[in-house]
Symmetry: C3
Subunit: 247 residues, 3 copies
């Protein structure tokens, strides 16, 4: 049994959107510390690890740890209907997740069927990264879009004081240089050069829900999975993406 309340329902909507852009279904673990979810996308190329601390909630009552499996697309649809000035109360109710939106003059209650999620040990990749990059989220979205006009893949290259992206395809090629301490590139810190190619569609889904104005952290090691993370309020979204290896 749990009953938890967020004063601003849109906060939960934005977090679910960030998870649902990558995975179809997931298992939320609810403990006294807060809510976490780890899930791989259906193709197993990428992974998301989400955590929201209990302090984000104005009410957080649980009698024991619970795990609830949900279809994230259906949950996302419900949350897309959030109005301004609505609080959200979530609780479990006979195998269903109850979501109650409480507005100034109406209340709206959804009950979402819980689902079985094959629980697997979702360990995060254990990589010692060589390079850390901090980049503004909005320009990063633009950089990915630039490359998508040329190719389905993008190469990231981090060196001591520069972060370079490139793409090449039948119609031409693209290279973008971002200097450290610019408006776009906040920090580059590489003990060794790191370079790898990644699938653009996955990257675009990962950064899509980063709130405008926030920074994104990228950790890299040549030809190893990328770690990409950002915050939504108190919550943390961490994504991993396997590199693309040409045959």
């Amino acid at each position: 049994m749990f009953e938890i309340k967020l004063d601003n329902a849109k906060y939960w909507r934005d977090c679910i959107s960030a998870i649902g852009s990558l995975v179809d279904e997931g298992l939320f673990n609810i403990t006294k510390d807060g809510i976490t979810l780890k899930a791989m996308d259906p193709s197993s190329i990428s992974m998301v690890s989400f955590s929201m601390p209990s302090k984000s909630f104005s009410k957080f009552t649980i009698d024991k740890n619970s795990s609830i499996g949900v279809n994230l697309e259906n949950l996302g649809k419900i949350l897309s209907r959030t109005r301004d000035d609505e609080a959200l109360v979530m609780k479990d109710s006979e195998g269903k997740l109850s979501l109650e939106f409480v507005g100034p003059s109406s209340r709206r209650r959804y009950k979402l069927q819980m689902i079985d999620v094959k629980k697997s040990v979702e360990k995060e990749p254990n990589v010692v990264f060589d390079a850390n990059v901090e980049i503004s989220g909005d320009p990063l979205k633009d950089i990915l879009k630039d490359a998508s006009l040329i190719s389905s893949y993008i190469a990231f290259k981090a060196s001591k004081d520069q972060f370079t992206t490139s793409a090449h395809g039948d119609s031409g090629e693209l290279e973008e240089l971002h200097n450290k301490d610019g408006a776009v590139m906040k920090k580059v810190d590489a003990s060794k050069n790191a370079e790898a190619v990644y699938n653009l569609e996955f990257l675009e889904n990962m950064v899509k829900s980063c709130p405008s104005g926030n920074s994104i952290q990228i950790a890299m090691k040549s030809n190893e999975p990328l770690k990409l993370s950002y915050s939504i309020g108190d919550s943390e979204l961490v994504y991993y993406l396997a590199p693309y290896m040409e045959d």
Copy 2:
């Protein structure tokens, strides 16, 4: 022969849009009192009754009552091109409906082929309703959209002081409570509880053209056709919709 003029062509555009969202073709009756149209949708589940008084027109000249059949989709397309500050003059012209848009420096004249509309006695359903609900149009549009994420049908339930909507589908269920005298619910007045299920797509088409800020009147009796009405300026739109009966 008739020649009628509206100083604001957009008024006619909005009325035709409200009719055309439900029916494909219709017969406008033009008498000295004004213009009326009654038509059923192709599936005969719903009906629209429209009336616009002659006082809405700055010129209203008719030599006898006329009935003109028009394809509402074609008429709607023409009206979608209305610019700001245009007056509209309509007259009959050799089996065609002439629409002349008169703007500050241009005039644009369409002639729309009239069509044969099988004239049937379109009597309005004769129901003694148990409940009357007055609800703001914009939140009602939201309520229908909420339900459409769950199901193709919505249940309306009116009681002495509450109006409740609900929907259920494979992915979950939804219930919304609206208290009397809230910003959403203007009035609820039920001599007896009334409850029925309606097709969402039809309801959405009915309310679509309700001008922002206007109220919508709903009259109900359990498992009987719903009456839904609102005004556009001096004109009145009345819709009827048969209830959905599960087998």
Copy 3:
């Protein structure tokens, strides 16, 4: 070898968009006077002639005249990614066209594969026009859209002091009168009446990129190709369109 620079990359983007709406590929001729391109659309019904003077560029260095063939769709995609406050440096680089966008804190370099364009003598039609019309671009776009609801063709008719457009189709007919010296019609000057029918889709593509607020010049002679032209900054776009002849 050439190296040319525009302080505002969006200027080039808008010009390429105006060319690319009609033709898929083209040959840019670069001489000390500037850049020109003449091309016919794949169906040979229409032609575009573009010229941009060297004074539009903040840097214009060429060692000899060059002709570069480009796929305009691919070039247009690259230019669609132009950000505010970016300059553009273009040069040839080993059979590729290099486009470097230089912004405040990043630089982005595309290399676009040049292509073979079958060079043909693209002479402009030699017509002595009877009528010249100057019309505001935005209302002309509206006029074309009005007609497209009725037909795929539009008739233009210019007389001493009036410009009339008309269309007819199965659903009805349309006629628009535009008086001289109105807000829409700037000038009409016809030594003889001129009248012809043109393909609407081509006309819509021709006027699409006319900057808001600019005027469009139309030169006509009955049943001869139309000449339609407008400016984007210092650059001139001239289009020709063969009349539609009903069998």
